[in-house]
């Protein structure tokens, strides 16, 4: 069960970003609509106030005009009539306008206002139809008992409508406040949601990262463990192989070799006997075969593991190796080494011997060299070995054969350093350093290096 952590992370972060963006957009929208409706409410209020004002001023003016016409001398009412008619028209238009936006709660007051105004106009119109006598006769009475009270009542109703209008404005403000409160709550909700989402995401991310880290650490540990056991295995293999070679070499030398020697001697003894003369040819053939067997056995034993390495130690073995290589290939091989004290640990001895052997093999096979210098130095803390040839060299950075890797592995196992310095055309120098501290404890020196002979 392995979910893709990247997918989960992308989902989490994407979701969070979406929530934040949505919150912002909706807040902006609400703010916008708030501002728009605020402006609308105010505009309506002002318009309605203006219309009411128009109505009031028209009524008022019409009253004044009517009074003037009533008080005017005979005739001359026609101009006032026209003025009143204009005011009447304006009032009607304003009323019509107001009617369109009337609020339910003002409906009653407004229709009363309308009917009062209509009645007022009717009353007022009547005065214009009066004759001069009628005017003279009724004008004061009309003025004080009809016009003024009607006008006052109408103005009171208009005030009431104005109050209602103000109420509407207040209500609009309250609505705005409600809207604003909703926006605030919405924003708080959004922020809370974002915080919760963010925290959840952070927790999830932390868990994923921790888990990943754990996995990485586990892998690393597994890797290290695998590498260690692989190295241990290869060391064990090398050790087993070396042990095998040693016992094979001994066996070949001590058993097969000795048997061939005995056959050789016995055959030669037989050749001495006169009555064996008829078998002389066969005996000589046997002797030659035994000689070849002896040579072959000896060579094979030496190749597997030279007996000097166990009998006398490292330097005699290196000298032998150098002589053999020189004899076989014509290469000049020089070993410069002080005799090692007999306590060189078994694994170090073998390691150095095998490294030199491999290095010489490489030189013979690839280097086209004419001379090789092998130097071995020992101090209290370490052994230094260098193998230097004057051959063609190679690109040490790129070329790493199995042999070189094997050498390196052996050296590293003993805590040493392995170094190849080579460039095409400039020969090759191989250097190894093996530390000698704390060896007594962990390296078993299976054979006393200074004794000769086989183990029994």
């Amino acid at each position: 069960m392995r979910r893709n952590p990247w997918l989960a992370l992308a989902g989490g972060f994407g979701g969070l970003l979406l929530i934040m963006a949505a919150a912002e957009v909706s807040a902006l929208l609400v703010l916008n609509s708030l501002r728009a409706s605020d402006a609308q409410v105010e505009k309506r209020f002002l318009e309605r106030s203006r219309m009411l004002e128009q109505i009031r001023s028209s009524i008022y003016l019409s009253g004044t005009v009517a009074r003037d016409s009533l008080l005017a001398p005979a005739g001359g009412a026609s101009s006032q009539l026209a003025e009143v008619n204009t005011l009447h028209g304006q009032t009607d238009a304003a009323l019509e306008n107001y009617q369109r936006s009337v609020e339910p709660e003002e409906a009653v007051a407004f229709s009363r206002l309308r009917s009062e105004i209509a009645a007022y106009w009717n009353v007022l119109d009547k005065t214009f139809a009066w004759t001069d006598e009628e005017r003279q006769k009724y004008r004061y009475q009309f003025f004080y008992s009809e016009l003024i009270p009607r006008r006052t009542a109408m103005l009171q109703i208009a005030d009431r409508v104005g109050q209602l209008n103000e109420l509407a404005l207040q209500r609009g403000d309250q609505q705005m406040a409600g809207l604003f409160e909703r926006l605030r709550l919405g924003l708080i909700g959004m922020i809370a949601l974002t915080l919760i989402g963010g925290s959840a995401l952070a927790i999830f991310t932390s868990i994923v990262i921790l888990r990943l880290q754990n996995q990485v650490r586990e892998r690393l540990e597994e890797n290290i463990e695998a590498k260690t056991s692989l190295r241990e295995l290869s060391v064990k293999l090398v050790r087993v192989q070396e042990e095998e070679r040693r016992s094979l070499s001994r066996e070949l030398h001590d058993e097969a070799g000795q048997s061939f020697s005995a056959i050789l001697l016995e055959t030669e003894n037989l050749l001495d006997l006169d009555h064996m003369a008829p078998a002389k040819q066969h005996l000589e053939s046997i002797r030659n075969l035994a000689q070849r067997g002896l040579d072959g056995t000896r060579n094979m034993a030496l190749l597997l593991r030279p007996s000097m390495l166990d009998d006398f130690g490292l330097v005699p073995a290196l000298n032998w190796q150098a002589r053999e290589t020189a004899k076989r290939t014509g290469l000049r091989v020089q070993v410069t080494a002080a005799e090692m004290p007999g306590d060189l640990p078994e694994e170090h001895k073998t390691c150095i011997y095998r490294v030199v052997q491999e290095a010489l093999n490489n030189v013979v096979r690839h280097a086209q060299a004419s001379a090789v210098q092998i130097r071995l130095q020992r101090s209290d803390q370490q052994i230094d070995l260098s193998v230097h040839d004057d051959g063609t060299g190679f690109d040490a950075e790129r070329v790493r054969g199995l042999g070189l890797l094997g050498m390196e592995e052996r050296v590293h196992h003993l805590g040493g350093s392995f170094n190849i310095d080579s460039q095409p055309g400039r020969g090759t120098q191989l250097r190894i350093k093996l530390p000698l501290v704390d060896l007594a404890s962990d390296v078993t020196n299976e054979l006393n290096t200074d004794t000769v002979g086989r183990r029994s």
């Binding site: 000795q258 003894n269 004794t451 000769v452």
Partner: protein
């Protein structure tokens, strides 16, 4: 004339039987004891005090080289001839350093053993020709590699004579007799030789002579 008394030391029974057979067919040789390991060889040498011990190197309990050392140190009048399969210089040098007087290869027992015993019992050294040849070849190759002038050229004719006699195992007194010189003169020559050749011990001198082909 008394026969030469011989001790055989080899852990390989068949080979030992063959050696005894070979030796007992010769006039004047008698095998007085046989050992199958180094310690037994030392014990039998002290018990029988043979003239010659023919000794293998690879033997259990105590190897032939250490056994040779012990036999020489014990003061018995036994000269040791190593008989081995090893023909590497390191074995020969160590055998000589241990006090062995001859070094034979098992390849050539029949041809060399009698001559070796005769030679060593007369106080000379003896090496299988194959051994001498190997040592000489290696020596020449090394000289050629190092492009060194041979130190042998530094020796005078008289010194070369003395070198040969000394390498054959003769004492200063014997050399003085042979060459008709005073003991003191021989001693002086001898120290000059060691100095010129940068040698320090008799085994080194013998090895040098073998390598140079002065003795075989």
């Amino acid at each position: 004339m008394n026969s030469i008394r011989i001790l055989l030391a080899d852990d390989h029974n068949v080979l030992r039987d063959g050696l005894r057979l070979l030796l007992e067919r010769q006039q004047g040789f008698s095998v007085v004891a046989e050992a199958s390991d180094g310690r037994e060889a030392l014990r039998l040498a002290e018990e029988h005090r043979p003239d010659i011990a023919v000794m293998d190197i690879a033997m259990p309990v105590l190897n032939g080289i250490d056994a040779t050392k012990s036999i020489v140190a014990s003061g018995v009048p036994t000269a040791v001839i190593i008989l081995s399969m090893h023909h590497d210089e390191s074995y020969i040098v160590r055998a000589l350093n241990a006090g062995a007087r001859g070094y034979l290869l098992k390849d050539s027992v029949k041809a060399d053993l009698i001559a070796a015993i005769n030679s060593v019992s007369q106080g000379h050294s003896f090496f299988s020709p194959k051994v001498s040849l190997l040592l000489q070849e290696d020596y020449f190759r090394q000289m050629a590699d190092k492009q060194k002038t041979d130190s042998f050229e530094l020796l005078t004719g008289r010194e070369r004579e003395i070198l040969q006699l000394a390498a054959e195992g003769r004492s200063n007194k014997e050399i003085a007799n042979v060459l008709n010189l005073s003991f003191h003169t021989v001693e002086t020559h001898r120290s000059h030789i060691l100095q010129k050749l940068n040698l320090h011990t008799v085994p080194e001198l013998i090895l040098y002579a073998v390598r140079k082909g002065i003795i075989h």
